[in-house]
């Protein structure tokens, strides 16, 4: 298998946009090509994440649409859909295609547009990632899934609402340093704790926002990447799944797909949690970050809430988590999220993250979760 590197990244500002998701992707993709310093003609394939385009934009077949709007209409392209992990799944496919010698340069991207519909509508569309008959009929929502996880974690480990609030405060503090973030404003523990319940025990400030945005990456084989100024190497990339129905999950306080994907990615890279300097995890809800930091092996099961409260996951702490602001503050345009997390880690490993730079970061990890925790992807990155 050949080594694969990320040689270009591009991300739009996240938040409200009066543009289609294809336009948002194309802006990010053109920026990624400029960043890579290679012409569009070098791109041999496009793998693309988009989730609710059918519902919010009446748009399927988003792969070739994205390629056309970018201006590379003839490359092979496929849309990946693994709920919120879609563009991370697209990324893993591109890595395997280059590693196998099929292509030398592949573009990966994703985009989403949801702020053109109401919260009740987007809440409904996001719930499509749960089982239609068994769970949607009961009115289960995305925050509801993570509220069930939060309640189980609180019962088993004594995790508190204040510990979850500490994750939100930390990610807003980081997001305030990121000019692309949807929210660039600090918040307090009191603000989080006094905000209205969305699905008890999760409050509005425990939840990431609905967002529009796009992200793109240029991946290349080692031979191409060696000519690039600062290639960031893909050291491992793994996917795992879990039961679809919540009732079939044995222990709601854990996310087994995270643990399985992490074990496989660490094995590929020959690394463990102690070797990682900077992390972007899927904090769609504050409890999701806590459970992710446990599943990835940074803390023992049950210790993630206390670790967040003690500042161990802050910039300057022992393992900085979500220096970008995470989904919570940076925003969560679901089809773009996996690619945007990778863009942040690449920026960190190049040492180009400005005021949110993790000093001397050499190894980074991204973790993206799909919907009801039934999909997780974990990838590991390193610089020369």
């Amino acid at each position: 298998m050949r080594r694969v590197a990320v040689i270009g990244v591009g991300v739009t500002k996240f938040g409200l946009h009066d543009r289609t998701s294809a336009e948002l992707f194309a802006e990010a993709a053109a920026d990624a090509l400029t960043d890579a310093g290679i012409p569009a003609s070098a791109v041999q394939a496009l793998y693309y994440g988009n989730v609710v385009g059918g519902e919010t934009e009446h748009q399927l077949h988003t792969g070739p649409q994205a390629a056309s709007v970018l201006g590379i209409p003839s490359v092979p392209t496929t849309r990946f859909e693994t709920a919120c992990a879609s563009s991370h799944a697209a990324f893993r496919h591109a890595v395997m295609e280059i590693a196998a010698g099929v292509s030398d340069v592949v573009m990966v991207g994703g985009a989403e547009r949801v702020l053109n519909v109401t919260t009740a509508e987007s809440t409904e569309y996001f719930a499509y990632a749960s089982d239609a008959v068994w769970e949607q009929r009961l009115g289960l929502t995305f925050p509801g899934v993570f509220a069930l996880i939060a309640r189980a974690h609180m019962q088993k480990h004594g995790t508190t609402e204040a510990q979850m609030a500490a994750v939100a405060v930390k990610n807003h503090r980081h997001g305030a340093l990121n000019p692309k973030a949807q929210f660039q404003k600090q918040i307090t523990i009191e603000q989080v704790l006094k905000s209205a319940y969305v699905a008890d025990p999760l409050k509005i400030f425990d939840c990431c926002p609905f967002s529009d945005g796009g992200a793109a990456l240029v991946l290349a084989s080692e031979e191409v990447a060696r000519r690039h100024r600062k290639p960031v190497w893909v050291l491992g990339s793994a996917a795992a799944s879990d039961w679809m129905l919540l009732g079939d999950k044995r222990d709601l306080s854990r996310v087994p797909a995270t643990e399985r994907a992490a074990a496989a990615a660490y094995r590929q890279a020959g690394l463990g949690p102690d070797d990682v300097d900077v992390v972007e995890v899927h904090d769609c809800f504050t409890i999701a970050e806590i459970v992710a930091t446990e599943g990835l092996g940074f803390f023992e099961p049950g210790a993630g809430g206390r670790a967040a409260e003690e500042g161990r996951t802050s910039l300057g702490g022992e393992i900085p988590v979500n220096p970008s602001g995470g989904l919570k503050a940076k925003g969560h345009p679901i089809g773009a999220t996996g690619a945007a997390q990778i863009a942040e880690i690449v920026t960190q490993l190049r040492g180009e993250a400005g005021p949110r730079q993790v000093d001397g970061a050499r190894r980074g990890l991204t973790h993206t979760l799909g919907g009801n925790t039934a999909t997780v992807l974990v990838s590991l990155f390193g610089r020369d």
Binding site: T119, A120, A127, W134, R137, L140, G144, L148, V198, G247
Partner: protein
């Protein structure tokens, strides 16, 4: 070709009639909530329906206050993962239990929930 032990449609027709049913693997005894083609434990393809008593305890719960469009008129409402005494667990809507009194470990009992002529799983007081 093997006839399924119970289809999703048949399962919810039974729910409407007040019955909760699971499937049991004829080979290893594994109990599961349908639909399932292969046993996840032994990969056999032979299931028998098995009635469940409907008694269980709350494994986790939440009160949903921001609802999807199609359930907006029902909010706030509680859903819970309930572990049935036979060992399988399912998500259900909480019915006729004050939202403030819900707790993990609380005993509950299955009852059919019919909204807009669609049957789904409800749990009320034990």
């Amino acid at each position: 070709m093997t006839e399924p032990a119970i289809t999703v449609r048949a399962f919810f027709e039974r729910v409407r009639a007040g019955q909760l049913v699971a499937i049991r693997c004829e080979s290893c005894g594994q109990l599961a909530i349908p639909p399932r083609e292969l046993c996840p434990t032994c990969h056999a393809r032979a299931w028998q329906p098995q009635s469940l008593a409907g008694d269980g305890t709350i494994a986790s719960y939440t009160v949903i206050r921001v609802a999807p469009r199609s359930h907006a008129a029902e909010a706030p409402y509680a859903v819970a993962v309930v572990t049935l005494k036979e060992g399988v667990a399912v998500l259900g809507r909480i019915v006729d239990i004050p939202l403030g009194s819900l707790a993990i470990g609380m005993p509950v009992r299955f009852r059919p929930l019919v909204v807009s002529d669609q049957a789904s799983i409800g749990f009320g007081p034990a």
